[in-house]
Symmetry: C2
Subunit: 628 residues, 2 copies
């Protein structure tokens, strides 16, 4: 990567961490950048109150390339011009001349195009595309005046940018006649799975449709379809794990498909996503009679220890945006005993937004509360049950300027769906045969469906996997509904399960889940307490440390394998939703055989031995002869 | 990325997950690959019992390019030849002709060169280097017979590979006279910081030098110096977060600097490293009077929840290699109550290697044990203290075929040092001013020093940060030693601290730590129990969920800030070593104000309120008026 004296300044930059408002660009001399023999640049024109703000940006450093003022026409003027946060109104038509030093091939800049499609973007890629982009009221073309890749892979060139207004509806370049996108990316709320004209801006504070139904975030698919599947695959691949804010996040690396219109600086991210897709080689071989293509997606190895981070970064980022827009939002509230309140309070704490958690007194242990408490949430403990808390927070949030982060919130699903895209990406865009997801409130299975479906619709893949929803037998309303052939859904009274996060008898996202399963040739399975705990223990013994919900999903897998539904060599992904460290007590109880009525057949308690060389030697020799 | 019908095969591939022995290459037709207008290929010749096994590999897919049999000389023969796991003994001299389809610029293959430098590697990069590589008994050159980058960026070419024996000691290509590396990467054990000829192969089972001192893994720096800093930066950057086994791991993305000679398939990895470098923006601003360039490296958000994963992947991988070499190793043992036994047992479980943990009976809770127990370790509980366990396991491992994974093991430091390299990388190879690391047994501070120092020596950066070791006041032997001006070191009797992993009075790596601190203009600080718990709570309130050790490091930072040693705008990194979820009980006790003699000034207990609309409204209105 480039290193110059300018890189030694002390001000925090946009590594993968929180954003700030970008500073004005410093005045810089005209410095060519060398990214190992490859070099990329884009120019971003922000449309802002009718003024065009221009700032040249390189991929790796928010500084550097010189953009001349619009009137500059000579190379010398260009080279001398200051590079700053200038604003100007481009004349129509106008000619901009940009003096660039070009090194060699620039795949990267092609990849990064669309992250700035909202703005006017000039993109320079001599090998791949002469490019032309536009905003809603302008179009720019450029034509390189020199050839590229001279002997030393370094040469200056001039780019002529001509604005025109209004823009043509389709523009082709002279070189390759490739149409250029003209629709900006956008998304809005619409009623879930219903044919109406009803829709709401994502900047409205709204939780349900006019008829009281679920909402869904609907993207402008025509805008996204301006680019083909290969483009999106390449774009997403180019961002994996990078330090460039905010794209190092697994969620925000898909920003155009999540919240396309949010400003990068409004995003609250803690490097969520990019979780390990673990090849459960030993588990598959030893526990599922030689299943050789089994993978566990460890969504719980994350900032707050559960997959909820994926959705919460989206919700809190949007709230952050709304607050900056001076919408009346003092804080964010939820009624949750577990991962939701943990994720909400952590992201709010990072953002400096007050979080409020409602909980039933005497029914929640401090252990369940420790994350929101530690993250500074205002935790209200009240003498009622969980439903009472939920009712109260709904009433309160309709009166007070508190955003409700409950589980029907459709913004969160936009983040969660990126886990599905990430799975495809980690398989190099090959589609697995099965994806098994634990289900309680049932938002997540729809989120996975939505992620897979978008990839199919936009041509990244050509099919979607079959989905399996796995429920605890103690909280199995979807399973019963599936067994009845999707006849009338009836809530159940959920009883205690070790898989506590899915102990839900009347799931809010039931319609979403049924839709997802019907459209993915899906299946629902269930697991008893003993089954799920045994399976969790069996998985741990092969190097994982999974939560009981993962145990539920693994039981579903075992049952479908035994029935021959899932084949031995089917590529199968089991979604693990929380970190095992959140369930230490359940594991302790299991391995201590302290669970009433449970055999705990895989318990692995410590072996007591006298602290003498010979005694230890005896025990160990026996053990080693058994295992070697 | 490329998608072809061949990619739909069901056999598991090398995504970021566990390795297997590579299968023979399937017979494939001659298919050109298109990686978005860029395409990379390398050929790997393995030297194996005198036979040369050849298999062509593309970066993204272990299949594809056709390598003709050695006798094939015509294009048509090449195109028709099978691509398989053939073995052949190359004639000396011999001519290989390889028919390739080349698309466009190939930065990537340049990056990936050295990962295969151990083997004979032919590398094809028309723009950057005509290449020449060799093994110890052969050298190959190639000369492209056509020019590249024709109009459609696609053209066939023939590469002539000529073996010669013995190889020249320095070879230059005809095109650019660039010397080509001839030294293979290697590493060995040497006594730590001592000038002797004593050294041991990493394939020996040895823990201490002949004089009973510490060992250090010493890399052949001359071999590494064959490449400049820019090369290494580019190589490491090219691997960040990628799915290519094993380079997606933060540790193994630096494989050449860790265990250069291990076969990729012997590596046991769980996607360790690549942890978030969190910009502690709110914490710095609000708790350290506007410190604006403060970062927390979250090493504990990982597979087993602590930084120990970084070292354990190296140790267990090497043990795996030794077992495959038929060294007498049935299992791996340790005496540890915490993160070490957790990481050891998880990695062993993933590898299918028995792990053995020795622990004092009645002094360890099941909570401390739950990870090794769940990961199937053979846990021996004995009626002695921790020192007794350590003594016994040393005796036992000298008799039984059990590898000792204790904390003086120098292999583990090779993995841990990658966290330092990763920090530089995340700052785009800018060097922070300060890095603050909690210290108990003191191996980690040396590992960080070593990582930074290697980056300096190999030209990736031009200086190293100043290191700060932070100790709990209840276990502060290094602090006392530092205060005495590094006079004679005296162990202390450590007393209980919430920072339990650093509760060590007689650290095994004391010499390493003193060396690291002296050579980095380092400082040692200490934190009392109340200080460290308050600081942990303050950090949590800004969106983190840190362990008490991180609290210790943050106290050190605060003290150095208050004394003016660390400046307000100094770029400072605090290393967080474990996941806060491992310390839920300590956090519960703090926020319940249940810690005797501690004020718990940042405790944030739940607020009780009647479950009535008006009562809740009152409480919330007051709260909101306070925070808004």
């Amino acid at each position: 990567m480039v290193r110059s004296s300018a890189t030694k300044s002390k001000s925090p930059k946009k590594y993968f961490t929180k954003g700030t408002t970008p500073k004005p660009f410093p005045k810089l001399p005209f410095v060519p950048f060398f990214f190992n023999s490859s070099f990329y640049i884009f120019l971003e024109f922000k449309t802002h109150l009718g003024l065009q703000q221009y700032r040249p940006i390189t991929q790796k450093q928010n500084k550097g390339l010189l953009l001349p003022p619009p009137s500059a026409t000579s190379e010398s003027e260009s080279a001398a011009a200051a590079c700053g946060a200038s604003t100007f109104r481009p004349p129509t038509p106008a000619v901009l001349r940009l003096h660039l030093l070009i090194t060699s091939a620039l795949n990267y800049c092609y990849y990064n195009l669309m992250s700035y499609q909202q703005h006017l973007t000039l993109q320079h890629h001599p090998l791949v595309h002469p490019l032309l982009f536009h905003t809603s009221n302008m179009a720019y073309t450029y034509s390189p005046t020199t050839t590229f890749f001279p002997k030393h892979h370094l040469r200056s060139t001039t780019i002529n940018c001509t604005s025109s207004s209004p823009p043509p509806t389709t523009v082709t370049t002279t070189n390759n006649r490739q149409p250029v996108p003209l629709l900006p990316f956008s998304a809005k709320y619409v009623p879930f799975n219903s044919i109406t004209d009803e829709s709401y801006s994502l900047d409205e504070i709204i939780y349900r449709s006019s008829s009281g139904g679920l909402l869904d975030v609907q993207h402008d698919m025509n805008a996204l379809k301006q680019f083909d599947g290969k483009y999106w695959r390449t774009l997403f691949d180019s961002r994996v794990g990078r330090a460039t804010w905010p794209y190092g996040s697994g969620v925000w690396s898909k920003k155009e498909w999540v919240l396309p219109e949010i400003d990068n600086d409004d995003i609250i991210s803690c490097f969520e996503g990019n979780s390990n897709l673990f090849w459960a080689e030993r588990y598959g071989k030893e526990n599922l009679s030689g299943m050789n293509d089994l993978w566990v997606k460890h969504c719980g190895i994350s900032h707050t220890g559960s997959f909820k981070d994926l959705g919460m970064t989206v919700l809190v980022s949007q709230v952050n945006r709304l607050r900056k827009m001076n919408k009346p939002l003092v804080g964010v509230g939820c009624a949750s005993t577990g991962d939701t309140s943990a994720a909400l309070s952590a992201y709010c704490a990072a953002a400096g937004i007050p979080s409020i958690v409602f909980l039933p007194a005497n029914k929640i242990s401090m252990a369940q509360l420790v994350q929101p408490i530690a993250n500074g949430a205002f935790v209200l403990s009240m003498d009622t049950d969980f439903d009472g808390c939920m009712k109260l927070i709904r009433e309160i949030t309709s009166e007070l300027p508190i955003y409700l982060a409950n589980s029907l919130n459709s913004l969160r699903l936009e983040g969660q769906k990126t886990a599905a895209i990430e799975i495809l990406q980690q398989f190099n865009w090959e589609v697995p045969d099965w994806v098994i997801i634990p289900g309680g409130n049932l938002g997540n299975i729809y989120a996975f469906y939505k992620g897979f479906k978008m990839c199919e619709e936009l041509g990244l893949v050509d099919r979607i996997p079959r989905l399996v929803c796995a429920q605890a037998a103690n909280a199995n309303p979807l399973y019963l509904n599936y067994k009845s052939g999707w006849k009338n859904f009836t809530p159940v009274k959920a009883t205690t399960t070790f898989a506590s996060a899915i102990q839900i008898g009347d799931p809010v996202s039931i319609d979403r889940a049924v839709y997802a399963l019907k459209n993915s040739d899906g299946i629902v399975e269930e697991a008893t307490e003993e089954e799920l705990m045994d399976e969790m223990a069996a998985a741990d013994a092969t190097g994982m440390f999974v939560c009981p919900h993962t145990g539920v999903a693994l039981v579903a897998l075992r049952k479908l394998r035994e029935r021959g539904v899932i084949g031995r060599s089917d590529r199968t992904v089991v979604v693990s939703t929380a970190h095992g460290l959140k369930f230490s007590q359940a594991k302790i109880d299991y391995h201590s055989k302290a669970i009433e009525g449970m055999g705990c057949k895989f318990a692995n308690p410590p072996v007591e031995v006298k602290a003498e060389y010979s005694a230890v030697m005896d025990v160990l020799t026996k053990y080693l002869s058994k295992v070697s």
